[in-house]
């Protein structure tokens, strides 16, 4: 067992603690090491994505006793490979973008150290095969993100960070409580082992209670609609690279990922739970987009749109769960789930890009108010073009990736005979187009009132935006069925075949 999976946790963690030591001597160290580290992780994760090996890793070499796992397990299956890729790619581009953007703040070293810590926490959550370790890594990444949201140390930033902390701690409490309940009932913390024990367990009241606690806890982390109150403040007050990271990756890695992982691989979900998840997804899809229309702060608009897009992702998984739990056609469920995964990848790309655009606008004009902006397309061609690409992508205009992922989700909804859901998804897509047209018109087109002589942003910032807009177009390739199978089939398989995940961890 010479696998190198723990490097995903060791490398960012070590970088996070080397930065304060060596960063004291030279200012350039932190700026160089963070993107380089993330680039290495990028290559590593992409190479893992295209090799079909799935494995589990026992930390410390504590072999199972009588087939009962006793050590800490790291599990690498299709789903976690996909999320690891998203984390490293978006992380690298955001870190590269930060080189120019963060230089206007003091204490840059702290920013990079916290950033690496957040990456380490997310990688840990995604890899961990053990509930309690998952919780520990989750706390590492969220606490780093609390500090990053408050990085500007202004009045708004501190208030947003405080709100985020209060709601985040409620969520952590609920999650810890449900972990304790599960441990009490099953006497084990390993996800696969819990799943094994629960198959012979028929205390349905206890199970429903735990599931509801988990949905609430991770719903708070993923900002699904009744639990979304912290997100618009936190994501709009953070420095823009951090917003891109929070909106693009963090809510997926520690919210949606864990929710889906636990409900598919740990519990055998019932129809009721599937309905609850679908309803929550639909609600956040609709309400998020309706709330976004009336926003005049660029980053608040983007934050509400994140809620709406997370709704699409949850909706796709919900349709898959409903079809599976009613014993419908497996093909439809596979289509819905792979559509969701596709939308997850796409959302992290275009939402990351949109937040980086917002950061570029703020970097040059020092305002986020759409009423004061206008006509920036002439002065900032790269920002304008890339943000046009991202806006078309998020509102589902054909050649861009967002169109295909939404199309797959809608086709799955129609095939599963949920015509209302399909109709709502189309409607929300039109509303999305409406508010992104408003964003484009009031920021890049129309009359330039206040900012006539501003320049394009520096190279590192425009480089990240260009790469992301190319990804926006390029990821459309994944819509071709044969390509989609290569990337998403492993992930879908490890989700819907419970036995595969169990075999990976407890029975070799």
């Amino acid at each position: 067992m010479n696998s190198l999976i723990p490097l995903f946790i060791i490398i960012p963690l070590a970088t996070a603690f080397i930065i304060p030591v060596i960063g004291k001597l030279t200012n350039y160290f932190a700026k160089t090491i963070t993107p380089v580290m993330l680039l290495i992780l990028c290559f590593f994760s992409i190479s893992l994505l295209f090799c079909s090996k799935q494995e589990s890793y026992i930390v410390g070499g504590w072999q199972p006793v009588d087939d009962i796992p006793i050590g800490i397990y790291l599990v690498l299956d299709g789903f976690s490979k996909l999320i690891l890729c998203i984390i490293s790619i978006i992380g690298f581009l955001v870190a590269f973008y930060s080189i120019s953007y963060i230089s206007k703040y003091t204490s840059e070293n702290n920013f990079y150290a916290l950033f690496c810590l957040m990456i380490a926490g997310m990688n840990g959550v995604v890899l961990s095969g053990d509930l309690f370790n998952m919780f520990v890594f989750l706390e590492i990444s969220v606490i780093a993100s609390y500090a990053l949201v408050a990085f500007g140390v202004g009045k708004n930033e501190l208030e947003a960070s405080f709100k985020y902390q209060v709601l985040g701690n409620i969520a952590s409490f609920l999650i810890l409580f449900s972990i304790a309940l599960l441990y009490w009932q099953t006497k084990t913390l390993n996800i696969a082992d819990i799943s094994d024990v629960l198959q012979t367990h028929d205390d349905s009241v206890f199970l429903t209670f735990t599931q509801i606690l988990l949905i609430t806890g991770f719903g708070l982390k993923a900002a699904i609609i009744p639990f979304h109150a912290w997100l618009p403040d936190a994501h709009s007050s953070a420095p823009s690279p951090v917003s891109a990271m929070l909106s693009g990756v963090l809510i997926k890695a520690i919210g949606v990922y864990v929710l889906i992982r636990l409900f598919f691989n740990m519990f055998e979900f019932t129809y009721e739970i599937a309905v609850v998840i679908t309803v929550l997804g639909t609600l956040s899809m609709i309400i998020g987009s309706v709330l976004a229309i009336n926003q005049w702060d660029i980053k608040r608009l983007l934050a509400y749109s994140s809620i709406s897009q997370i709704g699409y992702i949850i909706l796709g998984f919900g349709i898959g769960m409903m079809v599976l739990s009613k014993g419908g056609k497996e093909g439809v469920a596979v289509l819905a789930i792979s559509g969701s995964l596709f939308h997850m990848v796409n959302h992290s790309v275009f939402k990351g890009l949109l937040f980086l655009n917002a950061g570029a606008i703020e970097y040059r004009t020092n305002t986020r108010d759409m009423n004061q902006l206008g006509g920036l397309a002439e002065n900032m061609p790269i920002t304008s073009t890339s943000s046009l690409g991202a806006s078309m992508s998020i509102s589902g205009i054909p050649p861009f990736n967002g169109f295909f992922s939404k199309l797959i989700i809608i086709i799955a909804a129609v095939q599963a005979k949920f015509y209302l859901l399909a109709f709502l998804a189309v409607m929300v897509s039109i509303i999305t187009l409406a508010y992104f047209l408003k964003f484009q018109k009031s920021v890049f087109y129309g009359k330039n009132k206040n900012f006539r002589d501003i320049k394009e942003v520096p190279f590192t910032m425009s480089f990240s935006m260009i790469i992301l807009v190319i990804l926006c177009l390029g990821l459309s390739v994944l819509a071709i069925p044969s390509v989609r199978e290569v990337v998403f089939d492993q992930a879908v398989n490890s989700l819907i075949n419970l036995d595969e995940y169990l075999n990976l961890v407890i029975k070799y």
Partner: protein, 142 residues
């Protein structure tokens, strides 16, 4: 602070410090370990700082040192764990040192080493937080 507080603090600090070290080095034998012991050690320093003055410049210098030792001790612990990749069964966090006899002070392989470095890390981290709050308060008053 008054003379009584200063004298008592002087007398008691050494014992608190020693007790913290005792908890840390016996981490693998008795309840407690790096975290608990580290918190006690930090308590000894905090008591000293509270009883005897608070010169902001000195505090800032102290804070630089504590945050440095925090980072370094975590790095050493990570290296100890990472060394498991190269020794013995070649897995992360492998316990590669001889485990010795159960109940001895020097036993259990690498676990006492982790305890010691986690103790340093926790003590330094708590002290850093305390000093940061104190420096912030001083700066507000000025």
């Amino acid at each position: 602070m008054s003379l009584i507080v200063k004298k008592v603090a002087q007398l008691i600090t050494g014992f608190i410090f020693l007790y913290g070290i005792y908890i840390i080095v016996h981490g693998h034998l008795t309840p407690g370990g790096g975290f608990a012991g580290g918190a006690i050690v930090a308590g000894a320093y905090i008591l000293q700082t509270l009883a005897f003055g608070r010169d902001t410049l000195l505090l800032k210098k102290k804070e630089t040192n504590t945050s440095l030792s925090e980072s370094i001790s975590i790095l050493i612990a990570l290296m100890l764990a990472g060394a498991g990749f190269f020794i013995g069964t070649k897995v992360f966090f492998n316990n590669y040192l001889p485990t010795g006899k159960i109940g001895d002070l020097v036993s259990a392989g690498t676990i006492p080493l982790y305890n010691i470095f986690i103790g340093i890390e926790v003590a330094a981290a708590l002290l850093t937080i305390f000093l940061a709050l104190l420096i912030y308060k001083e700066e507000i008053e000025e």
